[in-house]
Symmetry: C2
């Protein structure tokens, strides 16, 4: 039987080896086998190149955590070798970790105009002065030397403007990085993905391709952003009352199309919500968003906002608890009240994990009397990532010898691997990785050669990495059954002088549980009587309190609050 | 312009009024504008009839809560009038609240054989003796008198066997309740939904129809359960290695089909996981599941379980943390290790809110090397609820004068209302409700006439309703930033004798934060010095400690732990 590779006659792996001596190491540090915090390192000799420094939003089990960033310890250890950081586009999962990385070391940063604009705004939030940084604006088809690496930027389409893929010439051969991409043959800014360049690279020979896997499980093609514009225009034309529209603040093209649809239907646009105003201002300043003269940026325009000839553009497309739309949905917004004829358009799909928040918002808006347009099949959202047919086309254009699926949970990487194998790339040349896996490429071939420290670093307030398993385990227990604090004072001989007193939080409502608490005190007193005068070993006493109370409370309530005995010794005078 | 009603010529609302004097009240107590805890009360004169007593699983924000049940206070207040409880089928969201209701009062319970079998098992879990209860087994097309209400049971298809809808004859007219239903023209047990009966009722005239709204947003038809059987057979035929299959333990028909597919492909079935074994045992005992002679119910059959000619049937289809499949996925199961050739089939879709748990399980299984078949489009799951076309057919068969969409979040009820309006039922005869809304029907017409106490009652361990907003708010704060306990002792004059000492849980890892804690103690001491000897008003001192510490810790960490000052007075001797 012929192999698929022979069968289709495409030569995956026509690679020009420029040097036989050196080893190229590619190390995904995040974004593989997980969603978010995308980051990859290329290591060759004395040079390290970093691609993207993203953050991830915490899963529910990471209680109280604000963000998750990659473990930078390998990079910190080798910080003298780091020649540069490339950002492929301005989404949080690609640039959100930069402020934290810059706390560790500085390095030149490369990105397109909008990407650097969004980065500057992010650094400002962290009270960092971007004018002190070595920022380099790059353009598609532009080239820069970053240490041993010669990097070319290639236009791609995505759900944010100004995204790029990368062609990285190394002494061992060409490494191509797709960035987050889709094919959009009719993009809003007319900047079509540079398939010619990817094709040329494939023709010359590509050693390794790192490819977006987000939609590798999705059949067919991803639709053009233009489709959203057409559907918005149709909706805006038919709707009689006021329109409230929300989308990702960074999706400049969708916002542009909403503004155009508003203008065409004779509506004035009013922007509400700080992060939306802020993002739009950056996009306007940098020339990525063209705004009609009479667009009203402030929300204190009572007359306009009350008018039926108005489109309110706002935040909250993911049901974020403190966003404007969520407040509107629960009738808590300071200036906007839903009226019977209002139509609310949610121009995005929920990010996995946000489904419930979004549907609660939809329910709330409907209860207030609004018509809500929100589902994927209502045509007001298209994905920013390539589906199967685009991925196949890309793989056949780039014709890599080796493939590293990136940007996706484990199953997405498996889907892209299956897809690539079906096209004829042998399985042994496809690497499914987890953060920290080291892939070694030489003129002899490629191997997975061990692992460096990598994983999740938790950000909680100003603390980076200081919340670990112990703290999280405590938070979990506290969140489930609360805490019971037992205080008592002993004299030097170990006789109880005051207490036990009990205080609880998150366990039972004390005023309604007086009987339970009295009985619990009784139990503790009786248990301690046995020790009275005999021991001053407080740890024994604490263990006794914990055991007796834990058992008693579980019997009575089937709950297991954290029990914290506080014993104080009374000084004799 | 003609109304839709005239246009299609269907007369929604040919109703026979039997009495002009009485008022019928229908009160949805749960399951409307929310998912789960389905319950409805019919009230007429001195008679109350309850339909279903379900529970709901808690949203993430209900920290530590085990289950949510409807507020029974209206029923408890009128318990003398309660003539009976009807259970339409045996799912948790229809029977799970019964044990809690029975703590309040007893009443005759009506249900089909399997439904009562599952109820008995549930009561046993709650250590209740079902032999002391007044349980009545009913059959489709059977009729019972429950107070003033004459109730007939009508076969419907659903994702559990033995489900029924209801025709309730009242002095005012016929009330029809759909139960949870779909059309399955080729059901596994050959018991096709009794469309003839629904049709006959419609012909005679139906006053009110309460209809399942779950899939009112889903176009087309819901596929037959048979499709799953065919697809399982195909998968089982093609797969060479061992198969591990999971589905809802209550979905007897799907389990039956999996067993048949196993037998056809020459595999022995091994059941693993307590709840799966337990559910199957009930279904076997009651004759709803036909099991091949050599089915192995125990998991301690090392040889069989290791064989490639084996299908392991197990729990964990929703990624439940302590289920067998989850343990297998994380390589923590006592007897099952994933091998390269294993295929895992997840024959269900995630319940909203469980998406992440399920995908984590899939990722884990793939990392262990298993092939995983899990998506809706892989054909191993079909819904148990009617889609739009079935709902339209049902509405046109039943031809109700009034419609009450039930069983669905707010937006689902709106979808069904829109659908019904499109068929010609005037909007003013469709009632979108929330729990506790009272709908009044008389010979004059129907009105929404106020509200009774209704809502969520939280179950936490043995406590029913004792966890309220205060406790939940505390749990939330504790879960986010933990707790800091500050202890000190004062003498009678208000001089600090010992302390302040600090203890924290879930805030920072203390060993790595000694400096912070020392500085915090310093702050507290200095703040208290001002009061020293001057005040013995402890609440002032506590407020001081909270304010000073709260501000200091927020500045240093951007976290807001709960601060709990514990002040003890030293007795003089």
């Amino acid at each position: 039987m012929k192999s698929k590779e022979e069968e289709y006659g495409i030569d995956y792996g026509r690679v020009v080896i420029l040097t036989e001596k050196q080893t190229l190491r590619i190390i995904p540090l995040g974004g593989v086998a997980e969603a978010g915090k995308n980051m990859t390192a290329l290591v060759m000799g004395e040079d390290i190149l970093i691609i993207d420094v993203g953050l991830a939003f915490p899963d529910e089990e990471l209680l109280g955590i604000d963000a998750v960033i990659p473990d930078f310890s390998y990079l910190v250890e080798h910080k003298d070798k780091i020649k540069g950081i490339i950002l492929t586009h301005g989404h949080e999962d690609h640039i959100g970790g930069v402020p934290y990385l810059l706390e560790e070391f500085k390095a030149p940063i490369y990105g397109t105009k909008l990407t650097l604009g969004l980065l500057a705004s992010k650094l400002q939030e962290h009270k960092m002065d971007s004018s002190e940084l070595d920022l380099h604006e790059v353009k598609p088809r532009g080239e820069v030397d970053i240490g041993i690496f010669q990097v070319e930027f290639i236009r791609v389409n995505h759900s944010i403007a100004d995204g790029v893929g990368l062609a990285i010439k190394t002494p061992l051969g060409m490494v191509v990085h797709s960035g987050d991409f889709k094919f959009d043959h009719t993009p809003v800014d007319r900047e079509v993905i540079d398939l010619h360049r990817f094709s040329e690279l494939g023709e010359k020979g590509v050693l390794v391709f790192l490819s977006d896997s987000t939609n590798a499980d999705r059949p067919g093609y991803t639709e053009s952003e233009q489709v959203v514009g057409e559907n918005l225009q149709e909706i805006f034309r038919e709707v009689k009352g006021r329109i409230i529209l929300t989308t990702f603040a960074s999706n400049v093209h969708r916002i542009q199309q909403a503004l155009e649809a508003a203008a065409l239907s004779g509506r004035k646009a009013v922007v509400v919500g700080r992060s939306m105003i802020h993002s739009m201002q950056i996009a306007i300043d940098l020339g990525y968003l063209k705004v009609p003269d009479d667009l009203l940026m402030v929300e204190e325009v009572k007359d306009e906002i009350e008018s039926e000839h108005c489109m309110v553009l706002t935040t909250g497309v993911q049901g974020e608890p403190i966003s404007a739309l969520t407040k509107i949905a629960f009738n808590e917004h300071e200036s906007i009240r839903i009226r019977e004829k209002d139509t609310v358009v949610l121009a995005a799909t929920p990010i996995p994990g946000n489904e419930k928040l979004v549907t609660q918002t939809v329910d709330g808006l409907q209860k207030q009397g609004a018509k809500v347009i929100y589902e994927a099949d209502s045509g007001v959202h298209v994905s920013g990532h390539a589906s199967k047919e685009e991925l196949k086309t890309m793989l056949n254009l780039v014709k890599p010898r080796y493939l590293i699926p990136i940007h996706g949970e484990y199953r997405k990487l498996v889907h892209l691997a299956d897809l690539a194998q079906g096209l004829g790339i042998p399985r042994e040349r496809i690497f499914i990785t987890e953060p920290g896996d080291v892939l070694e490429f030489t003129s002899e071939g490629a191997t997975a050669s061990g692992k460096i420290a990598a994983g999740k670093v938790l950000v909680d307030g100003l603390g980076v990495g200081d919340v670990g398993n112990v703290v999280l385990r405590d938070r979990r227990q506290l969140s489930q059954d609360g805490i019971l604090i037992v205080t008592l004072t002993l004299d030097k001989k170990g006789n109880i002088k005051t207490g036990p007193e009990m205080m609880s939080r998150g366990f039972v409502y004390v005023r309604e549980s007086e009987e339970l608490i009295e009985e619990a005190k009784e139990k503790v007193s009786r248990a301690l009587e046995k020790h009275e005068g005999k021991t001053t070993d407080w740890s024994t006493l604490k263990t006794t309190v914990r055991d007796v109370l834990g058992k008693f409370l579980y019997e009575k309530t089937r709950r297991r609050p954290m029990i914290l005995p506080v014993i104080m010794e009374m000084e004799k005078k």
